[in-house]
Structure formats: C-alpha cells, structure tokens
Amino acid sequence: MYDILNMTALQLGSAIKKGEISSPEVVGMLFDAIEAKDKIINAYITLNREAATARAQEVQKKINSGELTSPLAGVPVAVKDNICTKGLKTSCASKILGDFTPPYNATVIERLEAAGVVIAGKLNMDEFAMGSTNETSYYGPVKNPWNTSRVSGGSSGGAAAAVAAREAVCALGSDTGGSIRQPASYCGVTGFKPTYGTVSRYGLIAYASSLDQIGPVARDVADCAAILNIICGHDSADSTSLDITHPDYLASLGGEVKGMKIGLPRECFEAGLDDDVAERVKAAAEALHSAGAVVDEVSLPFLDYMVPTYYIIACAEASSNLSRFDGVKYGIRGRNYDGLTDLYNTTRSEGFGDEVKKRILLGTFVLSSGYYDAYYRKALQVKAIIKNHFDAIFEKYDLIICPTSPRTAPRLGESLSDPLKMYLSDIFTASANIAGLPGLSVPCGFDREGLPVGMQIIGQRLDEVKVLRAGYAYQQLTSYHKTAPGGELK
C-alpha cells in the first residue's frame, strides 16, 4: 500500500504512469483527507470533488492510451482562490465577489489542464491577497498544521497549509510581496516566486499588477520545477509575460552548486531577527558552503525602504485594480442604496474587509493630485534604485540567501493588533517583487517551539535555474522538507 498522501507530485505522477495507482484513486484519497482535516485547517474555500473525480477518470484514460505524458498527468493540484477557474467559484476570499463564477480560465489553469493535472479545489487566502497571516479572509483564518494556535502565514496561507497538512499534493499560489514564500516558510513547505513575466497573469485577479506573480507551493524543489515547466511561457493575453525560451527547469536541477557565489546580506541578520531563525538560516548557508559554494557577506543598504516602497506601489495599484468591484456587474450589491454614489458606497462598505479598505484608502491617497509626486513617483524611483543595486550585487554573486521571514508563525490574532509588525514580516520577501527577481523558500529547520523556519534564495532576473538548483542541492543534503507535522490536529 502506498503512502499516497506523503508522496510528492512527481512520485505520484510516476506511480500513476506506471499503473501502480490510478488518478481517480489519488483524487479519492485526497478528498477523504480534506474531509478529515480541513474542518480544522480551513485551507479550502471551494471543493471541486465531483468535477475532479470525473476529470481524473478522463485523464486516466488518456494516460493509459499514451495521449497524456506530462510527469504530473493525473496528479491533483489545489489553486489559490484569486486564480480564475471556469465554472468554479472564484472569491479572492472576499465577500464582495459573492458567488462569482468566471466564464473563463486563467492561462495557468488552461496549461495545467492541458498537461492532465486535476484541479481539486480553491484555496483560502487573505482577502484579495492583502495580508501576511491569512486572517483577513472573509472565509476565516487558515490554521498552521504544525500548531493550530498559529497562523499559516499569507496571503497564500491555504496553499501552504494544505500542502503541509497533506490535504493537497501541490498548489498554485500568487506572490506580490512574499505571499508564496512567507506562508511556505511558516508551514514548512517549498514555495517559489518566479521572475516577473515568467508565468502569465491572465486570469489572476490583480492585487498589484506590477508585482503579482503566480508560482508553485509544493513539498520540494523538484515538484516546484515540474509545475513551473507546465505553467511558464509567453502568453499573448498578457503583455507583461516575457517572450523567451524557457529551459527545462526540472532537468536542470541536478547541476553543481560547487563554485556558486552566494551573498549573505548583513542587514538581514541585524536587530529584529528571531535568534532561532538567524541560527537556522546561517546553518543552511553553511551546508551549501560545505557543498562547495562560496559564501560571503554582502550589503542591502536599502532594506529600510523596502516595506514603504512596497506598500506605496502595491496599494496604489490595488486602489485602481479593485475599483471594478462596484456592485454593477458581478459579485454582491449593497442592500439599501439611494442613487448611484450610494450604490458604490454601500456595496464597497459591505463587501470589503478592513484590511482591503485600509489599503484602498492608502493607495487612493498616494495617487491623489498633490501627493502623487511625493509618494507614488518617489516609490517608483526607489524601485529603480533597488533594481540597480541588485544588478550590482548579481554582477559578483550568483545568489542571495536570507531568512524568508524575520520570525516563525505568530499566534492567531497577534498580528492584527499590531499591523506594522505584520507589514514588516514582508521585509525580506518584498525585495524580490520590487526588483522582479526569482525567490525560493525552502524549509531549513525548526525553532525552539517546533515551528518551521524558511530560508530564502534569491537570484538574478531569469536565473531561476540557479535558484532552483541551490534549493534542490540543499534538499539533497537535508530532510526538513520531508518532515510532516506530527500528532493529531486540534
């Protein structure tokens, strides 16, 4: 008997291909696990059981006939609920979208389906991806499978928790300032945000268009690479998707890390960093050093500007992106309104949660006439400076390694009372979005309370191969990524 739920996506894909297990069996067992665990974890908003079961049977036939050959054919994937799925409710974890059911698929969904991957359900998240703890969801917070009094992280909290709790094999998340990597770190799974433009954003409900990027959340780096192989590539429906030839990311994992030059930013290990986190990440860097990488200290002097720059750009774009939720076309409409302006007011007052409202107000303010130059324009200038600074570092170094987050998963409720602390948890991840760089989070141990710690590996634009290769090499040396949360879920 296979321990299906502890297998990686690639292992499952291979077993399905060999006929050792079938896609419908995997899907069936997955839904049983969800039924058992998700009452506690709350990682899913919508389950796609019926359609997924039918789809698994269909896919299985095509695998048997040799029509489908992708390494992940027949494997179920769960999808963050801000990625549009045709005929399947897509809510962004917001009340305002109501039961919105898109009449189209996001490009990534089209690509997964073409490869025979089965869509299992839609995952919980912070409302409109705004939050770092998954507590802003209209559908309730996601619990951390390692300790259910802790948050999952966010905004792709459902993705990270579901993969960690073995109620998803792998998942798609989205990352605007760390929304894949930070929850992956809190939940002890592997999450990857590719270079901006690697994966089509068509069908991803925008939070901050210039920063958003879809990426995989999975058990290990190999699964991430396999998913990336399927979802990457130019899309004529997204003008910001890059028209380049992508390497086979999975095939390029095995290369050497020997001789790779790795920079450890001094500023990331200064005040504010949890001791256990510092120690685990330094130990991880040491492991790569012993595998032949050259590790040096570097400087990121702009780190203090990262969070303000990120929040100005992200909120400005969000204030515009979220204007379309006006009660006219889809989603909910305010209950009692008198005239057009009141229709907008009631709909948006009732439909959006506090965090979303806060960011819309902030974004509206920084774009308003008289303030634009002082805030938004300045933030774009800082963004350009940060980009140049990274370019300079990557002239000498192949990779940057730092903690994914300054701390491990906080208690539920703790962050909402101290939002500034929550915003600061994005400090190490947001830089990859600001500069459009690829960033990977891999588990690198546990703190004194047994909560997972994540190491972040950042590379130069389009240098995904090196980032994934270093992460893969690290996972060959360690087994943190194989450790499942123990004990009963409470």
Binding site: L204, S319, V328, L367
Partner: protein, 480 residues
Amino acid sequence: MKWETIIGLEVHVELATKSKIFCGCSTEFGGAPNTHCCPVCSGMPGTLPVLNKKVLEYALMAGIALGCRINRYNKFDRKNYFYPDLPKAYQISQLYLPFAVDGRVEYTTRSGEKKVVRIREIHMEEDAGKLIHSSYGDYSYPDFNRCGVPLIEIVSEPDMRSAEEAVGYLMWLKSTFEYLGISDVKMEQGSMRADINLSVRPAGSDKLGVRTEMKNLNSFKSIKRAIIDESQRQIELLEAGGTVIQETRKWDDNKGKSFSMRTKENAQDYRYFPEPDIPPVLIDDEWLKSLARSLPELAHEKRERYIRDYGLTEYDAALLTEKKQLAELFERTVALCNDPKETAIWMLGDMMYLMNRDSVAAEELNIDPYQFADFVKAVRNGIINRTVAKSVFEKIFASHDFNVEKYIEDNNLKQIDDAGRIREAALQVITENPKTVEQYKSGKTKVFAFFIGQTMKKLHGKANPALVNEIVTELLNNSD
C-alpha cells in the same frame, strides 16, 4: 468694448480598426447591447489588456498627417473614475507621454482666409460604453459594446478666434481622417466629437481670460451655436461686471443653451498613474518612415494639384476634394478620359443636383468611372449633344451596370450632323407656321427660339445645336 473669443478644441476621433484597442471584439457600430464584448472589455476580474498594433498604426498616421513629432517611447496611463459605463472603473489613456506632440494644421476658412492651428498633443485611449435608461421605472442598463473602441484625442492650442475658424479646423480634420481611411468620422454616430474650451478677452489684450469647457458636441451646427452662445454669455457677464468661473458646462442643443455641470473646485481627481499591465511600446524609425511614405495624398494636397495641373478654380477644386469618394471618382474618370474640365462640369453640375434631389451621400455614389469616362468622351466628341447628355447622365447616376455606348446605339441617340435632314425639318417648321414667320420678319426676333425648339423636337432633340442654329437663321433670313 470690443471682445476677442479664444477657442481651443479637444477632438475625440474613433479609429476604424476592425477590432477593439485591447481585445479582439468587433468595433462595429450598433448591434444588440452587450454582443460586441468579452471578459476583457467588460472588465471581468483577472483579465488583461493587449494593445492592438493596428490602433497604433492608425494613430501614428494621424500624428504624421497633423505634422506632429512622434514619441518613440510610448506609455499608457490609467485614468480612474467610477461610472457604470466604465466597467474597469478606469480608462486606459495616455497622460504623461502622448504619442504625438507639437503639430500644425493649415486650412482655409469658408470665407477664404488662411488659418494655422497648432496641435499640442494627440493621445490614444479607449472609449467607454453607454447607459440605456429605462423609460419605465428607475433603471439603467449598461451596454459595453463601445467599451474599448479605440480613440485618439487631438488637443489644439487656443488658436481659434471664431465659430467659423473652429468649424473650418474640424472640417479639415474630418476630411483628413477620411482620406487617411482611419476613421468613419461620422459625427452623428459619435465617431468624431469635440470639447470646446472657450474664453474671451478685450480685443488687443494678450492675457487669456478664464475659460469654460463644453463637452461632447457632435455636429458642426451645435458646435457653431455653442461657441456663439458661450462667447456671448461670457461677454455679457463681464460687461455686467461679473466674472467667468472655470467650469465644465453641458450644451443642450434643444434649448440652445449651456448649463453648468461642475466647477473647478469640484473637479474630479482622476489619480492618473502608469498602466502596469501594458509595458512601454517602442516605435522604430523604419516603421515610422514606411508609414510616412505610405500616407495617401490628403484633401488639401489634392486641391492644390487640381488647381495647378488641371486648371480648376479654387472653389471647384475644394468641392471635388471635400469628400474622398468624390475625389476618387474624379481622378479615376479623368485618368480614363483625360478631360478634367468636362468631368468637373458634370460632377459639380448635374451630379451634385441629382445627389441633392435624391438625397444620395458621397459614400453612396454608384457611378462607374468607365461609363462616366465614355460619357465624357461622347459629349466632348459631339456624339451626343448636351440635351441628350443630361438624360444619359441621369442613367449613369442611377445604375452602376449601365453601358453608355450601347445605350446611345440602342436608343439611336447619336447627334444628327446631317445638314440635309436638319434643313428638311427646319423647312417643315417654317411651312407649318406662316404666322410666326410673319412675326419674325416684322422684327419680333424673340420667336427665333421657337423655330430652334420646334426643329429640335422634330429631330427628337438629337440634332447638332450649332448646325440647327445656323440652318434656321439662314432659312428665316432668306425666305420671302
């Protein structure tokens, strides 16, 4: 006191591309509500815009024709505002870097004066949809068919001084875009519309007064009326000791008056910022050069050529080039018959008369240039006389499938040049009308026309008129 009116125009022109600016939907006018839209142009969550390259091409053609400097680095910006006909709640436009700047338009007003209007900028943007208001109850229904139809907005400097100058400028634009084939420029369908910025100042002053803006006017007539009315309103206000406030006004064509919509204090803050979904578009020199080379000859260029090469009067040349279709018919016919003057005579005379009588627009003209050219040759070579020609031309006007030669042949319409036959007919008329001959001889020479007419009638109108004249004169003067 004498006052001077200062006018600047912002003109919106819909580009006639087959598909919309950011998606593949049809731009066709009309259609049942919400049948020409898709998830992108109806603002569904997660959808993204992709620039239609044809829109850029058409826009650049306009920029070149208006003598603008073209920005090689192009960006789009978002203009944010809430309205149900704008499904994304922002319009994708160009604020910071319009694609074309610093142009110049030179034209002649109706009263024959030469005029120059400087162009500040031209930018690309998308059109919004419209609301259909229910005639029962309190409902409005959005129709997104027009959402994403490509527009260019042409912003002039405040260089016009009268309604006539403004209309002249607009007519120049209309004809130019028609010749370029980049817009239908149908004002009644809203594919060309203007916002009027207007202020007045004491004549001789070089300081600009406070201006008002009137939005979305879509006929030459209402533009003219609105300008006259608004400048009058401002002058009366100032002469009575009042002040003009900077505001947006709405022109009501039925009432013939404008009304205040919102003042500067209540002006909307559109929170413009660079559109993150569309990367900057670079225009390469080669493309721009090849577009400039491929630009067709424009109305004013044709007009000059007709005067210079064909010897037409300025007035005739202007009439023939006012509409692209007229100029095309003229040039194709002349190329076949090599007789510009005779062709122009028929187009400006009988054809204009028939178009007017039957309400046929230039776009609906159905005249075959081959038949028209045969006709011109037949007239020039005296194969048919002018009386017969008028009826033949009416046939050419009415049907594309008309063969001039065959028609003349079948109906035996050829001119009678046989002096013997004409003399015979004229003699008959003289014999049959002895009393009239008496009158003529007693000095009532007016009756001469009667003999000409009757002789023509006997020959079914086909006789060579010069010959008839000669023979009748001779017979009347020589008979006793």
